[in-house]
């Protein structure tokens, strides 16, 4: 009897997981298909294709791009600047948060300056940026990092500060030094916050990189998209944004393994645990 209950529970659990996965993918594909169909139908009879192009036109453009070595060169450029900028910004944000999070005075001294630095309208500084960093990869990486750094920094600080004091206390009493406290308590405690920041800043990094390409560049998907926009080629603009989105998805896929370290967290449910 008990054995059967356990087995049935396990089977039901596995079933729920499979159903949830299937539902998620069916939903995602459904949304995309619905949007594409609606768009195709609306383009022409409802709205002039000049404004919104059409899925077929965009697909054509994408097919052309994929066949040209030129396109891959541009895509690689944007992918590189996004990835490098993200890494630099995330690393800097996390590293700077550690010494500052638990030093209240130091933190309060620098806090307003961080805010000031974050409110710089980076786009408006375009020409100066070119002056400082040239027109190559560097300014794109810097801009991408700039959009990532502050969010990661603030979230890491917040994550460190919400670690329960009791966990730190027992660690110290059991003989843990600063380093052990950091590694065994503060780091895993702050990790959910840090990873959440990573997830939201990855697209931000790409936007930073593309803004950089807009300011001055002869390379990158941002440059391609902008060139198409300048010639009012709506299909090219839309194809460009799709490629950019693909880059973000690709990069966020590479973050996935990181979230496996959060396995310990209970799943919060509004309804019972039997709900999907």
């Amino acid at each position: 009897m008990s054995g059967r209950v356990i087995e049935e529970q396990a089977a039901a659990h596995a079933r729920r997981r499979r159903t949830r996965r299937a539902l998620v993918w069916a939903g995602r594909i459904g949304v995309a298909t619905g949007a594409v169909i609606a768009w195709e139908l609306a383009s022409g009879p409802l709205v002039r294709p000049f404004f919104v192009s059409s899925p077929t036109a965009v697909a054509q453009r994408l097919a052309e791009w994929f066949g040209s070595a030129d396109f891959w060169f541009h895509a690689r450029f944007t992918l590189t600047s996004t990835a490098l900028g993200f890494l630099a910004g995330a690393l800097l944000g996390v590293l700077l948060a550690w010494p500052l999070a638990l030093r209240r005075v130091a933190y309060r001294i620098v806090e307003p300056y961080f805010l000031i630095a974050y409110s710089v309208p980076a786009v408006a500084l375009g020409p100066v940026f070119i002056l400082w960093f040239g027109i190559g990869l560097a300014p794109k990486v810097v801009l991408a990092a700039y959009f990532v750094f502050f969010v990661v920094f603030v979230n890491t600080v917040e994550g460190i500060r919400q670690v329960p004091q009791g966990l730190i206390d027992v660690t110290r009493v059991m003989g843990g030094d600063r380093w052990a406290t950091m590694r065994s308590v503060l780091l895993p405690g702050a990790l959910p916050y840090v990873l959440a920041a990573f997830r939201v800043t990855l697209p931000a990094a790409m936007i930073g990189a593309v803004v950089g390409e807009f300011i001055a560049s002869n390379r990158g998907i941002g440059y391609l998209t902008r060139a198409a926009a300048g010639r009012y080629q709506t299909a090219g603009v839309i194809a460009g944004t799709i490629v950019l989105a693909a880059i973000v998805l690709l990069l966020s896929l590479s973050l996935r393994p990181l979230s496996r370290v959060l396995r310990w967290r209970p799943e919060v449910r509004l309804r019972g645990e039997d709900a999907l």
Binding site: V173, M174, P188, W264
Partner: protein, 265 residues
């Protein structure tokens, strides 16, 4: 350095503790007022007193997590300055690391004390077995019952030998049956090495069943009200102490003490 054998494991001398709470309108608050007592090595002492009278604060002072506003706190005759890593502290909250499995939590203290891995594993297994948690090694704290979490927290501290163990309502939120079983387990664990124990509880039966001495506190600001020598033979049978005449006598005296203090709050 040959220290003479000391009569006392820990001592508080005229200890005062004032807290300045956060917030503008909050006024400083006196938690402890001239608390003095000492514990002999190997003695099991219970602290009882109304909620908020400063029992946890006493333990925090001994663990060096907070400093006295006035007075002296000593451990083996030396003033406690900074975190006292020589005591074991089982806090009021279980404070298990939520990202470590039960076994890894039990191992935590040994790990921090740099006990070699093989030795660590061996002791963890032994202690987990001792409190009947075998089979739950890989469960995370949130996947354990309240009583299991308490057990894990207790053996985490007892797995490394410290000669003074501070325990803050370790069985607080548990049901009556589990409590008695854990009390029995605790006495057995204690008997292995006979550390000095400072045990905070609201449960008078528990205090009598476990301790050599019971110290009652007044309501806030906490002062020592009275001390009772329990004088029940050991080993104790926690399931049947209630039947002894000495038990009734102590219980009534303690209850009178506490009732007055609770009425005064």
């Amino acid at each position: 350095m040959a220290d003479p054998p000391l009569e006392e494991a820990i001592r508080l001398e005229a200890v005062y503790k004032a807290f300045v709470p956060r917030g503008r309108s909050a006024r400083p608050l006196l938690a402890l007022e001239g608390v003095s007592f000492a514990a002999r090595p190997g003695e099991f002492i219970s602290l009882v007193g109304p909620s908020g009278c400063g029992k946890s604060t006493v333990l925090n002072l001994l663990a060096g997590l907070t400093r006295p506003s006035a007075g002296r706190v000593t451990h083996h005759g030396r003033p406690v300055s900074g975190v006292n890593t020589e005591v074991g502290y089982i806090t009021q909250d279980d404070n298990l690391l939520p990202w470590r499995s039960m076994a890894r939590n039990v191992e935590y203290g040994l790990e921090l004390r740099r006990v070699p891995k093989a030795e660590r594993r061996r002791r963890v297994r032994e202690f987990i077995d001792l409190v009947g948690l075998t089979g739950f090694e890989d469960h995370y704290p949130h996947e354990l019952s309240g009583g299991m979490r308490k057990r894990a927290g207790i053996v985490r501290t007892l797995a490394y030998d410290s000669d003074v163990v501070l325990m803050d309502e370790p069985f607080g939120p548990l049901d009556a049956q589990t409590r008695v079983i854990l009390q029995d387990e605790l006495l057995k664990l204690w008997d292995l090495r006979r550390p000095t124990v400072l045990f905070v509880t609201h449960d008078l039966v528990e205090a009598i069943a476990l301790s050599d001495r019971i110290i009652t506190f007044t309501c806030r600001p906490g002062r020592v009200k009275r001390e009772y020598e329990v004088r029940l033979p050991r080993p104790r049978d926690v399931f049947h102490v209630h039947d002894l005449p000495r038990f009734r006598e102590l219980y009534d005296a303690l209850w009178d003490d506490i009732r007055m203090e609770i009425a005064a709050t």
